[in-house]
Point group: C2
Chain length 270, copies 2
């Protein structure tokens, strides 16, 4: 019998349950960043603690991750608890503990979705199809960039490609190697947009995401329909001031469904 | 000696400290909503628990509020703890407990801001000045609407005023009576934009904010410079689907400073 090999993303976010809501995890070298692990995989690991929880109701609706302190490569524990459970929504609090201190924490909402009226007001970005754009090379000093295939329509960091002073990037992105999209990988992709300051001002400075919030617009069926095809991301910042900037992104399917929107506040040194 | 009378907003968010990080609060009839209290004042009360905490470092940078369950009119307790304190940032978790259950909770980041490079990429909305637009009448069944003065340039709920099917509103807003802006009142104003579904589709349905995240771009000096003048809000939604929609807003000073950006996910019944 053939066994499906474990995708490196699943290996990186794997949690071993020790008791209900308690887990052990470990950083993975394939998702290393310049210092410590790539935040998107940390956030996905915290969401995974909710996904694996026996009391979970429904699918992810929102996720907020606080990167409270540097995370060292190595092991950590995760504790997830349902703070409040309603009829169709559930609110979560999750902590990542390393060396006896909280290094990251998250809140989340899971929800049972129902058929209702709906309409899409956001506009699908007009970009060339993914297969018409060459992928960029990974960045050697940030291992995680090799775990994604990124095809930029515009806004490659460090190479401003528009006459306007814009922080915007539009790119096709998927896991590398390809992996069927789910809430976990989508949550990580939401943190895979390079810091806008490197697009807006091509100068290297130390940066770090402080807190990130993602809203999942897609349900499980929409994600399943996506398969392992690239998603289209549009990322931009609004304001850089006194050591912090904001960054927002939309994640679209090629078919024009808005899968997620995400927002973060990022520290920058100077 | 003359005594400054307490503004109704300050009365509504008042917390009595019982021990370090533990407080008692009470809903205020001036900020009642159709069911229970106006969420903006609940969020401001949770932020107030951080503001009053003796261990607080710096000023608010981000605030995420989970409206986990209906809040009844009456008393509640609040518990705030610093989850992690760094050199210039601090991460908070705050719970509002009513009838022995968590009815709302929040995470926040406070930070010490430093002078750095900066640039504003967002575009100040071109609207007529506040004093050229008449305020709208409060909505009788939502008491809190009388606690704000709102002057709409466009996007009055229930009265679509553009040929396009837009969920966008642009309005000048301030506390009524006027009150000098601070982080607390700004956090509440971030939740004072009417649910976008009422702008997009003029039909009354039950709605409720599930979770809200606000980024404070302004520092205390910018807020002090604002005084009690109206701020300019621009709110819009991107997607309405299967019982939930997102909603984002920018809050500007009349002088063109971006004071805050805010995002929320909202439940709607049908």
């Amino acid at each position: 019998m053939a066994t499906q090999p474990t995708h490196v993303f699943d290996a990186a976010i794997a949690l071993a349950s020790t008791e209900e809501g308690h887990y052990r995890g470990h950083t993975h070298p394939a998702y290393g960043n310049m210092v410590g692990p790539f935040g998107g995989v940390i956030g996905a690991s915290l969401l995974n603690a909710v996904m694996q929880h026996p009391l979970r109701l429904g699918d992810p609706l929102s996720l907020t991750v606080h990167f409270a302190a540097p995370i060292a490569d190595g092991g950590f524990s995760v504790q997830a608890r349902a703070v409040r459970t309603n009829r169709s929504t559930q609110h979560w609090y999750v902590e990542l503990i390393q060396h006896d201190e909280v290094a990251a924490f998250a809140t989340a909402v899971t929800a049972v979705r129902r058929e209702t009226w709906g309409t899409l007001d956001a506009v699908f970005p007009a970009v060339p199809p993914a297969d018409s754009i060459a992928p960029v090379a990974p960045i050697a000093r940030a291992a995680w960039t090799a775990a994604y295939e990124m095809r930029f329509a515009d806004g490659i960091p460090g190479a401003p490609d528009t006459p306007s002073a814009s922080s915007e990037s539009r790119l096709w992105i998927r896991d590398e190697p390809a992996r069927p999209l789910d809430f976990l990988s989508l949550s990580a992709i939401c943190d895979a947009f390079f810091p806008r300051i490197f697009v807006r001002r091509p100068k290297w400075v130390a940066i770090g995401t402080v807190a990130l919030t993602t809203y999942f617009h897609a349900d499980a069926a929409q994600l399943a329909a996506q398969g392992s095809a690239p998603v289209l991301g549009l990322a931009r910042a609004l304001n850089f001031r006194k050591g912090f900037f904001d960054q927002s992104a939309e994640i679209w399917s090629a078919a024009g469904a808005l899968l997620a929107t995400t927002h973060q506040v990022v520290y920058f040194k100077e």
